[in-house]
Each structure stands twice: as C-alpha cells, then as structure tokens.
C-alpha cells in the first residue's frame, strides 16, 4: 500500500504524517504541490501546517496547486483522502467537503491534548475505531471553527457524516462540536485535530491516532 503525503510551501506536519503511515505498515510517498503526478499512490494525506502562509484564507491558494487537480479527480472516483488541520481547510476550499473553517471563537491559537468522541466508524479512515470511542490526540490551530449553514449541518448529522466531536467545552466554536467530517461516499475525511502526532507514547500523548492510518489499509484491501 502506497500512501502519498503532500508538501505545500508552509506545510509542517508532512514528516509526522509519513511516519504515521509507516507505523501503520504502509509505504509513505512524498508528493510535491507543484507536481501533478500522484506517483500511482493508493491514498493521499494533506497534512497540517500553514500552506502559502495562510494568505487570503487558509487553504485558499493551496487548493489550486497542480497536485490538487489530480487529487480532486481521484477523490471523486473514490480514492481515500485525509485532510488534517490545514489539509481539512484545503478540502473545504476545494469543495470536496462542505462548510468552512474559521477563526477560533476566542481568537487564540490553541495547542493542547484534546479528547474526541468517534462518531463514524464506516469511513475509509475510521473503520478501526469503535463507535463512541473516546480518544486523546493533539489539537493545534488558529482557524479550526467549523461553520456551515443549517441545511448542511442537518445533512451531515442525518447521514452519519460527523467523524468525531470534541468532548467537553467547545475549544473553537465549531458547530455541534464538530472536529471532523466525511463526504457522502466516506472516502474523503477532514479532521481538525492531529492523529499523526499521537502514534507513539514516546512522542505523543497516546497512540490513539494510529487507527486512522491503519483503517485506510482495510479500505484499500477491501476494494
């Protein structure tokens, strides 16, 4: 299994995402934003960071990078695609996921270990979790408040498209405590917190993030 990890100018977490892919037992393939070649990968991760310095809006310029044209085309055909933090923002800007990520409601940049409740265990990236399972992984962002209109929110709720919710106080003002969502097909997932930083107890608060990366291997074997 070969999983591509995209590097944009300003991406921070590509190394950790590649490391998580290797921990899960797959091969990590580096993809460059300016290169439209996906090198035949089976799935793609858009990692966290501040691509293009978050200029204009987070993810707004990255969304038009040459690599994204091919990623969007493949995702629409069912290729598993995970956007973490800035990657989630890119997915919303690319309209692969609905809604938008806006400034945290208290304006502060947050960096802490966050408890999440897994709501959807049928997506390509969450099948190795149990429904209702609580996990602790890092949350670090300035613009992580998930916003969408009422109609979109209802569609997400009614169709089991909420991947995970924040447990406890709402950290950033996200509607319905949403930390992550998926598309109708379940192959595209956007997540604001960082599972790739929680795969080894030596370097993270837990190993709770690893199932995101092992789940996708099930999805690829099963196809």
């Amino acid at each position: 299994m070969r999983i591509g990890v995209v590097t944009f100018p300003g991406t921070l977490d590509d190394r950790d995402a590649s490391r998580a892919v290797k921990y899960a037992g797959a091969e990590a393939v580096s993809l460059w934003h300016g290169d439209a070649d996906l090198k035949g990968v089976d799935a793609v991760i858009l990692p966290g960071g501040f691509s293009y310095g978050d200029y204009l809006r987070c993810g707004a310029i990255s969304r038009f990078a040459p690599v994204m044209t091919e990623i969007i085309a493949q995702a629409n055909k069912g290729m598993p695609l995970l956007g973490i933090c800035n990657g989630f923002q890119v997915l919303c800007e690319a309209h692969l996921l609905p809604g938008a990520l806006t400034r945290n409601h208290e304006l502060h940049f947050l960096c802490r270990d966050q408890t999440l409740k897994i709501e959807n265990t049928t997506s390509a990236w969450t099948s190795n979790f149990k429904k209702g399972q609580e996990i602790v992984i890092p949350l670090k962002n300035g613009e992580g408040s998930f916003q969408c209109d009422d109609e979109t929110l209802k569609a997400l709720e009614d169709n089991n498209r909420i991947i995970a919710r924040y447990v406890g106080e709402n950290p950033n003002g996200s509607r319905n405590l949403i930390a992550g969502i998926t598309n109708e097909r379940g192959n595209v997932v956007g997540l604001m917190p960082h599972p790739e930083h929680a795969i080894d107890s030596l370097t993270g608060p837990s190993t709770d993030g690893l199932p995101f990366f092992t789940s996708v291997l099930n999805a690829l074997v099963g196809k």
């Binding site: 204009l56 038009f64 919303c92 609905p98 938008a100 945290n104 304006l107 408040s145 916003q147």
Partner: protein, 80 residues
C-alpha cells in the same frame, strides 16, 4: 490606470471573532459609539486604462473562485 475594488465580508450569520474583539476594544479606549463591528477584506486591483464592463465581469468571476469563499463570505465589485 483604472482601479477595481472588491470588498469581501463574512455573511451576517457567520461568527466574526475579530470584529467582536475590535468591538470590545473600542469602549476601553473611550469610543462608545459601536453596537457591533464586522471586519472584512478589501482588494484593490489595478488595470491598464479605464475599467471596462468586461473587466468587472472577469473580476466577479475571480472573486467567486478565489478572492471570496461563497460558503461563508459575500463580495461586491466596483470600479473606482
């Protein structure tokens, strides 16, 4: 040289924490006039010669795909 101005604002129903922070700072400085503040973005685009209707239409297209995110923002385009 002509100038085209694009103003981008968050939709009224979208929370604007920056505007709220500005609204909270004003009274601390003795400015008591504001009941609400919304913060937006302004783009000034320079073109050769006088602004044409075709250029305005092009900028409107650009605003739709890049300058604004229609999911959360509205925009206006005008020549100045």
């Amino acid at each position: 040289m002509g100038k085209i101005v694009v103003d981008v604002m968050l939709k009224p129903e979208i929370l604007d924490p920056q505007g709220k922070a500005v609204a909270a700072a004003l009274p601390r400085l003795g400015f008591s006039f504001a009941t609400d503040v919304r913060q937006g973005k302004r783009f000034e685009i320079t073109v050769d010669g006088d602004v044409t209707a075709a250029q305005i239409a092009e900028v409107e297209k650009a605003a739709e795909v890049l300058l604004a995110n229609p999911v959360i923002e509205t925009f206006t385009v005008r020549a100045e």
